[in-house]
Amino acid sequence: MSDIETASGTVECPVCAQEVTLADVMQNEIVECEGCAGEFEVLTLNPFTLEELGEDDEDYGE
């Protein structure tokens, strides 16, 4: 098994301040925040830093 670095722990969601629990995540993995359904890329592991992916804003027609 290649030894890709993973990490576990919690981090505060950059958007909604919810405490997000991460289990064995790798760098650049996409994770989802339970509080606001936002999707984030894990930029660094120790400490965790998350970067928000583009929100697919709903098409309101008009």
Partner: protein, 350 residues
């Protein structure tokens, strides 16, 4: 046995019917009597068809009411306060779902209901029955009021902002409520005639809505001064209330700060969920998926360019806006788990 005897006075209306539906599956409360002057002597399920084969109770007259441990009053506004001495003589504990004992200030009552209160001495003995606001005072209380559905949707929408101090004094709260038809009760009228009511977007009480009083009361309890401006639009749904409250927050207020205020207020509440999601079909609170459930979903949106904050709350007007909250309070009054009999999650799709 540890059963608690319950009576429902005024049980032929929608709120009375919802109470009976909930209590039939309640492990501790047992409904022994349910009154209706119009349907005296008739089986209850002929009025509440969803309860066929679930109960063989018949409606009795209000005058045949016997002593019980818990009495729910669902009488037309004005009747509870006329007969409160008699009711408190019959029941150890009372939840009054009408507007008679919601306000603790007789002047506020007279101002908004246009007539003096018939039993002002009793007002102070009732606790306003919104557990999210008054849980400690409701716990073990003898007399508790119900809540107004529109006021509850607004109160739950704004409570985080009120409690977090994000709101400067004398802020104007523009409160728009979109509501379903069951709010007006089960008495037919010209304007509830289906061809007229179907597909409606009917502006009602664009100004001077009575439920304003209960919002003012919540603000007073939180020692917050704000001006409440309500408008209503009746929509084609049957069960639904959606409050959209607009206010301006101080410069520098950021979305994270509002998220934290919402989390702080709601994190341990069993029946309030913060709904503001970046994807999916239900990104903001939506009443229809709450039909029949006791949940209130709350959310917000902040316009950073103008510092306008929009606070949103969706409920089922018959449940979190009336019967569900009444049972939630009753659970607290008898020291039971607050969620007992109230965990139905609503239907999806619906």
């Amino acid at each position: 046995s540890n059963r608690i005897t319950v009576a429902i006075a005024g049980g032929s209306g929608y709120v009375g019917g919802e109470l009976l539906r909930l209590l039939l599956d309640h492990p501790t409360f047992t409904v022994t009597q349910i009154t209706s002057e119009r349907h005296k002597g008739s089986f209850v399920h002929f009025t509440h068809p969803n309860l066929r084969q679930r109960t063989r109770l018949k409606f009795t007259g209000l005058d045949e009411l016997e002593p019980v441990q818990l009495l729910f009053l669902c009488l037309p506004h004005g009747q509870a306060m006329q007969q409160i001495e008699r009711f408190t003589g019959l029941a150890e504990r009372i939840v009054d779902c009408s507007a008679d004992f919601r306000l603790d200030d007789p002047d506020l009552y007279a101002e908004w209901y246009g007539k003096p209160h018939a039993a002002p001495q009793w007002l102070g003995r009732f606790v306003y029955g919104l557990p999210e606001l008054n849980r400690d005072r409701i716990r073990g209380a003898q007399y508790v009021s119900g809540v107004g559905c529109n006021a509850t949707a607004i109160n739950l929408a704004i409570l985080p902002v009120v409690q977090s101090g994000l709101m400067v004094a004398d802020t104007d709260l523009i409160c728009e409520v979109k509501v379903g038809s069951s709010e007006a009760g089960n008495k037919a009228s010209d304007s509830s005639h289906h061809p007229v009511r179907s597909g409606a977007m009917r502006s009602f009480a664009p100004v001077g809505h009575r439920h304003t009083a209960e919002v003012l009361q919540l603000l007073a309890v939180n020692r917050t001064r704000a001006r409440v401006h309500m408008s209503g639009t009746a929509i084609d749904n049957v069960r639904a209330a959606l409050a959209t409250v607009h206010l301006f927050v101080p410069p520098g207020t950021r979305e994270r700060g509002i998220w934290k205020a919402f989390r702080t207020t709601w994190k341990s509440e069993p029946f309030v969920r913060v709904v503001k999601e970046a994807k999916g079909n239900y990104r903001y609170p939506e009443p229809k998926i709450l039909a029949g459930s006791n949940w209130a979903d709350v959310g917000f949106a902040l316009d950073n360019s103008s510092q306008r904050l929009v606070c949103i709350c969706a409920i089922d007007n018959l449940m979190k806006g009336a019967a569900g909250t009444a049972v939630q309070s009753a659970n607290l009054m008898f020291g039971l788990d607050e969620t007992t009999g109230l965990t139905f999650p609503g239907l999806h799709p619906i």
